[in-house]
């Protein structure tokens, strides 16, 4: 069992996303994160999802995805060298001496404080998912008010690209 990042190029059409999501629930696969947006070619959307499964299930997932009529191409980018990024907005309680602690932690993780209130900070942070998890852990006793994560997006580290 390992984490997979599956990248899908699909028709930018209503209903296409529900077919992908429906496939996962219908066949009992899990989705850990998912994001989708149009590409530079507006007729196409790029969807990235992460899931944890073994090789056999990954093979079935990619084959089942390819079978969907709206799906143009599918690639398990975690199979090869790749870049993985996720962005997180995190709102934490920050009063008195906690404020310097949050600021320091954010600097260490190369985050940015993007909003400030008298009782809170909102930090923006990007990186791979493990780094974002690490930041939350590093906050220790500081209470987290809200976490918003984009889900993973990724791209292969070679000239090979997922395009038409």
């Amino acid at each position: 069992m390992k984490k997979r990042i599956i990248s899908i190029l699909m028709e930018n059409e209503p209903g296409a996303l529900s077919r992908v999501v429906g496939l996962f629930s219908q066949r009992g696969y899990n989705i850990d994160s998912l994001n989708v947006a149009p590409t530079n070619d507006l007729s196409l959307s790029r969807l990235t999802l992460t899931t944890v499964c073994d090789d056999l299930v990954t093979e079935q997932i990619t084959k089942q995805l390819n079978k969907l009529i709206d799906v143009v191409k599918v690639l398990d980018i975690s199979e090869g060298r790749h870049i993985e990024r996720e962005m997180m907005l995190i709102k934490v309680k920050a009063k008195a001496d906690q404020r310097t602690e949050v600021k320091r932690c954010s600097d260490i993780f190369r985050g940015q404080i993007v909003d400030v209130g008298t009782t809170y900070y909102t930090v923006m942070l990007d990186g791979d998912s493990a780094k974002l998890d690490g930041f939350i852990e590093a906050l220790g006793d500081i209470s987290v008010l809200e976490v918003v994560r984009t889900g993973v997006c990724g791209i292969a580290r070679s000239e090979k690209s997922l395009s038409l």
């Binding site: 209903g15 056999l56 079935q60 079978k67 009529i69 709206d70």
Partner: protein, 579 residues
Amino acid sequence: MTEMLSGGDALIRALKDEGVELVFGYPGGAALHIYDAIFRQQDVEHILVRHEQAATHAADGYARTSGKVGTVLVTSGPGATNAVTGIATAYMDSIPMVVISGQVPSSKIGEDAFQETDMVGVSRPVVKHSFLVKDAKDIPMTIKKAYHIARTGRPGPVVVDIPKDVTNPHDKFEYSYPETIDIRSYQPVKKGHPGQIRKAMKTVLAAKRPIIYIGGGAVQSDSSDQIRKLVDELGYPVTNTLMGLGAYPGTSEKNLGMLGMHGTYESNMAMHHADVILVLGARLDDRTTNNTKKYCPDATIVHVDIDPTTISKTIQCDIPIVGPLEEVVGDMLDYLEENAQRADEKDLATWWEQCNNWREQHSIYLKPNHEPSKGEMIKPQDVLKALYKVTNGDAIVCSDVGQHQMFAAQYYHFDKPRQWINSGGLGTMGFGLPAAMGAIFADRDTPVACVTGEGSIQMCIQELSTCSQYHLPVKIINVNNQALGMVKQWQDMNYEGRYSQSLYEESLPDFIKLAEAYGHVGIKVTKFEELEEKMAECFAMTDRVVFMDIYVDPMEHVYPMHVPEGSMRDMWVSKTERI
């Protein structure tokens, strides 16, 4: 020259231009513009069924018999949801079908309008693809795409949902039907990989204990002739899945019979002991494999299928070939022509000796596994044997679901493809009668029998009325055991005979009177000695619907039967003997 047509007229014209001759359907509010367009033309014939489920099953039976795409037209809401069971049935068995559903007007979608259902959403898990048409101008292209998707690659049902305003007779546009189609995200594979085919053939030819395993894909792709040549050339034993019956002649000496849960002893034994299994157009589903962990331990599996998802889905495959079966088998024949090497004759002879030994031990065809019928004790197996005899094995047999279905699969030896029509994947009770109606529309010259039980037939019995309206002389063979036989069998075997909700307790209708009420002929059979004669009488009435209500032994079970969680070779071969 272009023509100005409304959406409704354009839809029907597009069907005509696509070559559609028949539509099975049922009208309703959201589809009324379309029904008016049907009224004003002669090219596309509409068959009015009595329930939308039957429309889909009839289109399905038509598709399975003819090889063409079946077409269904229903209204929104309940019309659409009633069709879903039939769509799911077609999806599981890879049957090409286009289902056109009316939808509430675009402006009302999402408002919970009268008879509104999100048909694209409801049907999504059981369709190959679906469309919601938002503009009348898109109708011709959508219909072209729908039929293309339904019939190519691994066939399947496609839903086209059309809001009522899109078919408005007052909004006209320039109609033209596209001649060709190219969908960039849908490119079904056209050839098998030559390297894989060579590798497969080397393995197949090096086999000592080979078996050729033929599934429904062989029927769907019309590969029977090619497969027959391949089997003749190789001389290997053959087995069929339930869906593959008829793809290779059932009466051939090389055919060990159906495999799987209720497959023959010889087929299941040969599978378990095989060293190479050549799978042609099958998906190795749970009813054929038994426990996948104990599946055919010595076998190298060569799997040919048009759909890559069927490969290594349940059973890890050793040599996969993705491609159209007729092409791949054609390439295999070419390979055999170019290469003189064949399987070792001695090994093959030993293997055949072993297979024939298994036949002699427990073949249901050589040694009946049931008591003989006598007087008022008619064994259901003998009903199917009589049907086979009376029809000379030439009928199209449309089955419902249950014990009678398995008996038909076991005892009617199908020699031709598209002769055996049944709901194998979804197991839809109620399928038989409407499917038989569809089969008659596809083939008016061959007798069509609906093998059913008193449980299944009551799930779509309303279609006796459709049979009257369109003069569809179905011969209904009701194997009446006064119980839900297969449920009862499982309750006997696994629940110590606690017949929970599987008995009718004297509530069955008088099927003879019922048939007569619809203007049909009813024949009741309670004595074995009259069975064959009355069946001959039934089939002699070529232009009538005949309902044969045949009372059979309610205690009979279907055997062989796989022992749950066992391997292919673990079977009950009779009520008392377990192998």
